[in-house]
Subunit: 342 residues, 2 copies
Amino acid sequence: MAARKKPGRVTIRTVAADAGVSVAAVSKVLRDAYGVSAELRSKVNASVAKLGYRPHAAARGMRGQTYTLGVLFPDMRNPFFTDILAGINAALERTQYQALLGISQSMAVIETALAEAMIDRQMDGIIVVGPRLRRDDVADIVGKIPTVFVGHHQPDATAYDTVNNDDQMGAMLVVRHLAETGRRNIAFLSLARADLDDTVVTAQREIGYRRAMAECGLERQINILQAEQSAREVQAAVRHLLSSRNKPDAVFCWTDFIALEVLSAARELMLSVPRDLAVVGYDNTAYCDLAQNALTSVDQSGQVLGLQAARLLVERIKGRDKAEHFLVNPRLVVRASSQHIA
Amino acid sequence: MAARKKPGRVTIRTVAADAGVSVAAVSKVLRDAYGVSAELRSKVNASVAKLGYRPHAAARGMRGQTYTLGVLFPDMRNPFFTDILAGINAALERTQYQALLGISQSMAVIETALAEAMIDRQMDGIIVVGPRLRRDDVADIVGKIPTVFVGHHQPDATAYDTVNNDDQMGAMLVVRHLAETGRRNIAFLSLARADLDDTVVTAQREIGYRRAMAECGLERQINILQAEQSAREVQAAVRHLLSSRNKPDAVFCWTDFIALEVLSAARELMLSVPRDLAVVGYDNTAYCDLAQNALTSVDQSGQVLGLQAARLLVERIKGRDKAEHFLVNPRLVVRASSQHIA
DNA sequence: CTGAAAGCGCTTACAG
DNA sequence: CTGAAAGCGCTTACAG
């Protein structure tokens, strides 16, 4: 509808004419390609500044790079993702790359569609956080575009990089802490998933939970509940758990928001936290610090994860083809919700 | 670095050859352009499906549309934005358009840079939520790309559309509710902003707050505090407020997260909510419902805002040039944090 | 209704 | 070190 041909448009050709050099020379300066003299470079840069030239990303996309990286998050709700994004942006700050986001609303079909959309748009690479992709979709996507997964445990993968916190260890830190402070009936509230392969973070946390429970001699108390991420489902699961005959004296939740729901349900059921019930979350988001929550949680350094993911992706775009798998150690942050029982 | 020329790439030319028609014909079918027979259309569609053809967005961007819409949010922290995004996605579901996000981290320079990046990438239009842009940047951007602002009050703007909830009315609902339930020292905790023009939502809420205070005969109790969005700043402001000599008996916060900080500070200062202090937020996010918060808040129907914004943007891209300004009515949701004092 | 051809703004071998 | 030319995959007048 809109007229495309803007008469005043400044293109690489305008710049070349102004600087008195060839179009190819301008292109090289713009991309910091090798083989241009300092003199030519400064002439071009002067013209670029003077004319306010901005490269046309679509045209670049047809030939070379778009300097655009896609970042896929399952949702916008989890404040932990803010930290990851901050890390990504920090890593990209002094580069030509620009990150653009897609939010899949935790649905595998949307996630796949978004990844395809990013491929169609010739993005140079993508970072997928907490992937919900099916296994063959993963294979398909990583074959088409450089990919880094955050929160996807596959340390033997060769076709893509991964960045993770050690989710097994995180869960073990929690269980040990709870056991040491006198809890025995420690339940784990996990995320419901159709396919339960071990790559997902919740599965890793389950494994860590089981291992630590065994280690503490509590294997008979192992109690895993799964719930969707919707408020209604979580509430039902929590109510069920807290009203059951062998009521737990501690609940470890796979993510903070679920733990906040547990705190809410406990209050409604007149249970005192931490006296009757210890509650622990994961991610150490900003909400943990609020006095009404005072939630013990596991910090997984979202910023570091994001930073590493961006760094690895740029390396991969620049040609590295040997996979790298980065692991960061989690750290337990104890607050009142799991305080020692006197 | 990567070899561009993928030999097996399916282009519009491959499809044309397979269907036995011209490249131009395929292009027309793809864009639902006029002037193609049903027979040709079905031949082309069959080949598209058979070959798994996907249009190359960068190539499209060089000539026509990219079918990509940019959505700019100030941050990922506010769960209210999730609702707006859900509305946008719902509106776009059956269309060819794809929304891609940028997060400005509440910084005007990043917001400007992201808008420019989206323009460089030939996006067809952008939705800017809670803009922090300077006035001349707004003029510059709307001149280059169809734009809809959400949370930017400028009902006389002709160059772009706006979608808002009636922030003045929202604030008035809150003040009236608090006054009716016996509060008098009602403070307003607003966002610090360098330039205080009336277009921003917090300024509108301030106006509504002042109007309702006057209406209730409380103009001498008007008390506005401003704080940055950082946890530390908010805590300092809240402590200052709650420890001051003429301590308020109610605090109205410009957004829920700030109100949660107030609840936290009140608890640390041994103030009982709602007995000693009523607390009210804005946005009615999921956290309000948790029993430990039970936060009264103003619902502004984020989904509706997002839906309208996407609808208006697509209309504008398709050629409408008369500005539209959509306003939705806010609704007060009363919870325990502002309950009647006996 | 259908198609041949020009051209969008870049990058990339390649020749000089 | 520098530049002329081909070409990326589409869309758009335009002619038939």
